[in-house]
Symmetry: D4
Subunit: 146 residues, 8 copies
Amino acid sequence: MELTVYLAGQIHDDWREDLQAKATQKNLPLTFVAPQTNHDRSDNVGDDILGEQPGKVYKDDAASSINNLRTQILMQKSDVVIALFGEHYKQWNTAMDASAAMTMNKPTILVRPESLIHPLKELANKANVTVETIDQALDVLNYIYE
Amino acid sequence: MELTVYLAGQIHDDWREDLQAKATQKNLPLTFVAPQTNHDRSDNVGDDILGEQPGKVYKDDAASSINNLRTQILMQKSDVVIALFGEHYKQWNTAMDASAAMTMNKPTILVRPESLIHPLKELANKANVTVETIDQALDVLNYIYE
Amino acid sequence: MELTVYLAGQIHDDWREDLQAKATQKNLPLTFVAPQTNHDRSDNVGDDILGEQPGKVYKDDAASSINNLRTQILMQKSDVVIALFGEHYKQWNTAMDASAAMTMNKPTILVRPESLIHPLKELANKANVTVETIDQALDVLNYIYE
Amino acid sequence: MELTVYLAGQIHDDWREDLQAKATQKNLPLTFVAPQTNHDRSDNVGDDILGEQPGKVYKDDAASSINNLRTQILMQKSDVVIALFGEHYKQWNTAMDASAAMTMNKPTILVRPESLIHPLKELANKANVTVETIDQALDVLNYIYE
Amino acid sequence: MELTVYLAGQIHDDWREDLQAKATQKNLPLTFVAPQTNHDRSDNVGDDILGEQPGKVYKDDAASSINNLRTQILMQKSDVVIALFGEHYKQWNTAMDASAAMTMNKPTILVRPESLIHPLKELANKANVTVETIDQALDVLNYIYE
Amino acid sequence: MELTVYLAGQIHDDWREDLQAKATQKNLPLTFVAPQTNHDRSDNVGDDILGEQPGKVYKDDAASSINNLRTQILMQKSDVVIALFGEHYKQWNTAMDASAAMTMNKPTILVRPESLIHPLKELANKANVTVETIDQALDVLNYIYE
Amino acid sequence: MELTVYLAGQIHDDWREDLQAKATQKNLPLTFVAPQTNHDRSDNVGDDILGEQPGKVYKDDAASSINNLRTQILMQKSDVVIALFGEHYKQWNTAMDASAAMTMNKPTILVRPESLIHPLKELANKANVTVETIDQALDVLNYIYE
Amino acid sequence: MELTVYLAGQIHDDWREDLQAKATQKNLPLTFVAPQTNHDRSDNVGDDILGEQPGKVYKDDAASSINNLRTQILMQKSDVVIALFGEHYKQWNTAMDASAAMTMNKPTILVRPESLIHPLKELANKANVTVETIDQALDVLNYIYE
């Protein structure tokens, strides 16, 4: 059974490539989808497509409208969501995506470091499974195929 | 027409009392509901009710299960949600509640300071209305009754 | 049985007051809700609440975000929708509201003059009932209580 | 990931063929579906299949019932909707389709000329993304695959 | 706890009045709603409100559009549905209403005479409870309050 | 685009084979599914699988539970439903299936002879399209591919 | 804010009366609803209303159809569900009701003794909150009003 | 038409392998999915992936969170559910899965021995079909393809 996995979370390192490589090693029939991971492109896509906007709030709104369209399409096609929090950045997008997924009844795995246990406690409680590393997240996905 | 308003957001100052007082001055037929605003009680309610848990992650999970039950019940009874972000704290609960509300088709007003425009841009784009002050949020609610 | 009726449609004459007066004469237990019918206020509410926006597209987007919030809240509280088209103006809001109502399974009565039969044929086919006058629309509501 | 795109909007020029040709050039794995674009056939299909109806309102109702069936089937199979408004015609079908799509949580891109910013402001605010040209709409779809 | 009960079924005798009288005797807090029970009015309501239609199929379609609006509004307000079949008439409306109710997760009690067990077997299997008399149907409603 | 079509309706002649043969001639990419069309097997399947039941009502309930399971599975997999009424038999199953389909937002084509216009008027009004012959129903399906 | 609480679970002692008395002492604005708690009546209600059935399986099916109707009506009217497991009996009804409630997004509190932690682990994980005593369940409800 | 079948129920014998072998003999195009059937792995998976938990309740909660994720993913991909009860063990998981399936409108076949008729009567009434052996369950699945 093939499953599509949406990878929500920060885009400042290559955790998605790492996860995909390990899934390939395990021969898991998973397709991964994700938000735009090129940070500059993600911030500028509104101006890139629609032309220069009159100030930062309008530039941000234009970019986020296109990012949100992408996320909505790909998340609706997904069977399961992994949402990863790191120790830096505000990551409200990640919280938004994880909560949207859980409210849509998409099974969701939360990945967060030990240092964030307290501030993420309500999200962790609402997620199906909460783990600390992407290896553990992959172990959970692998378990579906055992 | 009476409306119930869920007030998501930080619990470190009395913005809810401020908003309610102003709504009363305007004679708006609004009922406000909210998460537990006593911070210690919110953190300890799991241990308070279930007994001491074996360590911080379990204490947090117990407390958050009860906080999430409260939020789910009150949000399901609400007609509109106001989600307020301040300049401090991680506020992932607020992002979670706002996203859950929007995914459930609860009309949602986001309140955030100018300094947070960029990190909240996807949430702001997804919200029905985004404002900077609770007075503006109340102006929006008042507009429903004009 | 009390019913709430959302009155979608143009805001350039007082058809809503006319309908409400006739419903009162018939002693029907109906509560009517509607969009903002003060045209200037409807166009300016974004700037009025959020401050002046940088140009017309932004002013329009700010105003419409608040108008859409109002419509969503009131339509979700409604049991039936009347959507009236007149011979002037583009009235895409009316088409949007009627279609949203029907997609949400809100029973919908379409009111349109004979001159608009052809361009409104798909909306008319999708509506529960299509009539030509508000008196006929009220006759339909009255029939629920016979 | 293959996506199906419903192309709502006017049927008086060949914007759909233009869009499809450009998508093919970019090698995007998109399948496009659309309403009947032969205007006469769209108007006459009721009489064509069911026989001559007794007057224009009945001819229109018969045709629109079949057009609406086609739209409902194809839109339910689609992952994303593009709704294009031009400067001519009433285009209430387009507004109806766009609003139905958004209410069904189908991600929707609105295409409209600058001259229609004001009358389409509520639909534009409710759409995920609003652009002015089909090239921009295609840029948005292309972004999903970056 | 007050409940609203939709009474679907034939309109050729006064079984609804009988049921209501018995419910009143038992002091059950039930509100009953129903389709138009004046048969001529039900058949003619389209012409009565919209004017004379060009032939029987159009007269029937006009009347049924208004009858269906009434049914949809009242059934959406109901907590439970009783659908009664008698030995005469085709009663496809009753089958339509019962099936719509069950598909909408409205708890449904089917009342049918012994002679109709076989042709109603699939509807009876799908209903929550199947009985033979309105007294039994009322016993079932009464049981909710024991 | 391949579509699956559920063929609800009487099982006393071979209208389904006729329809399928004509669809094959037109090269339409349609898959047809249907209830059990062997009448004896349909009536006896409960006893066949579960053993003899104690009387007719129990035999009928056992058979219909299995017929309803089959219908629910196949209808959920379908994109469009054709429901055919003939001049004989009570056909309450057909009314039940058509109404369930429409309530589930499955686009539905009703086929009925002229003689049944009046008793089927509410079902016909609720259906997307109503025709008199299976050739017309196939013309409607064919129109989706034009 | 008044809330309705469905009390699922065994009917062999008076835990519901105990809970209600304690809720009254705390002045909580709660309305409690429940299945039939008279065990004999619950087992015999099918025969009582429909007449004697031909054997135990049919008697049980008749009774359970009426019990399930009652549960469905009352649970749909409820805002929160408490499901209590005791140390005796199979209690599959309780598991069924708790799971139905959670799947319908009704917030659910599971009450179970320490001895049942292992066999109830999946239900406990899926519930919003799991406690060991009805006093703890009431503390959780009380927390909503703090 | 290929169907996916979720096999809920006890994991203490090889009834799933037996069922699959018989389905293969009949050449039915069925794909079977199931919970983890290695009992030790199912009980320990939380500790296996997340590390040792502080006591039995936490170990059980960790394991069940991963088991529940697996069940939710596979059940959402399924077209039909078979839930088997045996004479031993508490099997509350099976009741939970069957009830979740039925509440999600997944057609469900209940398999239970004669000795469990009474305690399973409400679940049996709510299931689409109730049988006593897996051969009968397979006969029901086979009937869909006749």
